[in-house]
Amino acid sequence: MKLLPTVAGLGLLAATGFTQAADPNLARNLAATCANCHGTNGKAVPGAGLDALNGIDKAKTLQKLADFRSGAKPASIMHQIVKGYTDEQLDLIATYLAAQK
């Protein structure tokens, strides 16, 4: 019965985003959808009034996104945009942006 733990392990991986992470460019591509407003790789134009996202701790970005989603953090537009992405996609985006210098 050595098969069982393997199957269970695979199920867990799938649930935590293993399937999409198989595409090495997925996080990069998803984060690029933010760049129109927040700058290429999250490096917003200084002084233009929009938050830079590069090098920000992943947990901090995810909390901010969760607060937009719940309404805890007031927004003009992000409360509407955040609802268009899955949790898994937001996790990939936050991870990618945290790694940008």
């Binding site: 460019n25 290429t40 509407q80």
Partner: protein, 425 residues
């Protein structure tokens, strides 16, 4: 003779590839080849930059653009309304050239030969490509407004729906108009470039009249049966801010004009203006329609949403306003930028022998000013749906502003600076 020395590109590509390997980017930058991008607007400029950036210089990119500088359509209504200058909406192509190593050719494309994978330039010469990106924007269907189908008429009755000299000329006509004059703006049936754009223009011209020529009127002749975008917010602005200035007329399709008297000819009616601004119906830009690529309704290019590649013509990717849009997807600069990134990612995969990503995501934001300071937005997110093979709007996401506000006016200007940098810097 503008013959591209493809061997030199390949050599340069190999060198850049070696550089990428040096910096330890295994698995990235392995794509090589030559991509030609036609059109340096929101879609094409973004594709050019991202192809270079994501391939770490491994892919050679040539951008063919007819204009010497980029002039933005978004924000150009602020120039029409007199609160911003042309300089503030103009950006150089130097960043693409110097920072990203994009080869820029200022020229027009006469014809594409997809079988030979080459295209012919107006000033002479041919360019060969491994993959082609067409981001040609729109062409006006002048035959729908027969009396405007000549250059002289088009210099009197303006569209100003491609930013540039027409923007300046429309501003001049408004400045020269007498107090008490009538400005009429005709809107074609959807789909057209920038759904909220005409209503924004009506607001900003009304804002100018309110300050400087308060006896003047803005008449909107809309071919559509109702306001196409941000309806509640625009109609509230017209009522609250421009009650005695703006008049909205639905189901008012302009069929022709009388140029000398600046009269719009509708199906059962005529309307004479002092400044007549006609936005004719449009279709995909000429280079797309002349290349034998499959169109929908004889107007818009049919594309595969995983790659932006033409469904009929392998190796040709089409972006921006020229494509047949997915459900609820606007023809906007923001969306064209997103198309550019989707295409860049797919092209790099294809040039590496991989398939495009099966899960593309696109999002849109359009800001519109209703006066010099207050703006409103519409936003949406679109995810690929394997069942319909189209990017579909995510239900429950996106939406419009609760009310016009100055914060979004500031954000709109910040959006412009960031997206221009994302394309061109």
């Amino acid at each position: 003779m503008m013959l591209m020395k493809r061997r030199d590109f390949l050599k340069a590509g190999a060198a850049a590839g070696a550089l990428a390997a040096l910096y330890g980017c295994a698995g990235m930058g392995k794509a090589s080849g030559h991509v030609v991008v036609v059109g340096g607007g929101y879609g094409g400029a973004t594709a050019a930059k991202y192809l270079r950036m994501w391939s770490q210089g491994g892919v050679q990119v040539t951008l063919v653009e007819r204009n010497p500088t980029f002039v933005s359509c978004p924000m150009s209504n602020l120039v029409v309304g007199g609160t911003r200058s042309m300089e503030e909406i103009t950006v150089s192509y130097d960043g693409l050239k110097n920072t990203w190593g994009v080869r820029i050719i200022q020229d027009d494309v006469l014809a594409v030969d997809p079988a030979k994978r080459s295209l012919r330039l107006a000033k002479g010469g041919e360019l060969s490509y491994d993959r082609l990106v067409l981001s040609p924007g729109i062409e006006f269907m002048w035959d729908e407004i027969p009396s405007l189908d000549n250059a002289a008429a088009q210099s009197i009755i303006l569209h100003a729906w491609k930013a540039g000299p027409q923007t300046v000329a429309l501003r001049k006509q408004l400045e020269e108009m007498k107090n008490g004059g009538v400005y009429a703006l005709s809107i074609p049936k959807a789909p057209y470039r920038c759904p909220p754009g005409p209503y924004e223009r009506a607001c900003l011209v009304a804002n100018y009249f309110k300050q400087k020529k308060p006896k003047s009127k803005v008449i909107i002749l809309d071919a559509n049966e109702d306001v196409v975008s941000k309806k509640g917010l625009f109609t509230k602005a017209w009522t609250d801010l421009y009650k005695d200035i703006v008049e909205y007329r639905p189901n008012s399709e302009v069929k022709d004009v009388d140029v000398a008297s600046k009269t719009a000819i509708l199906e059962f009616d005529k309307f004479k203006a002092d400044v007549l601004n006609v936005v004719p119906p449009h279709r995909a830009g000429d280079v797309a329609t002349r290349s034998g690529i499959k169109l929908i309704n004889d107007r818009w290019v049919d594309i595969d949403w995983l790659s932006m590649e033409s469904t009929s013509t392998p190796g040709v990717h089409v972006l921006g306003d020229a494509i047949f849009p997915a459900p609820t997807m606007p023809k906007s600069g923001h969306m064209a930028n997103q198309h550019g990134k989707l295409a860049a990612a797919a092209i790099l995969n294809l040039l590496s022998g991989d398939r495009p990503s099966p899960t593309p995501v696109l999002m849109n934001t359009c800001y519109s000013f209703v006066d010099a300071k207050n703006a409103i937005h519409v936003a949406s997110v679109h995810q690929y749906d394997p069942a319909t093979k189209v990017v579909q709007p995510v239900q429950g996401a996106g939406g419009v502003s609760a009310a016009r506000n100055e914060i979004e006016g500031k954000v709109a200007l910040g959006w412009a600076r960031n997206i221009w940098a994302d394309m061109l810097t």
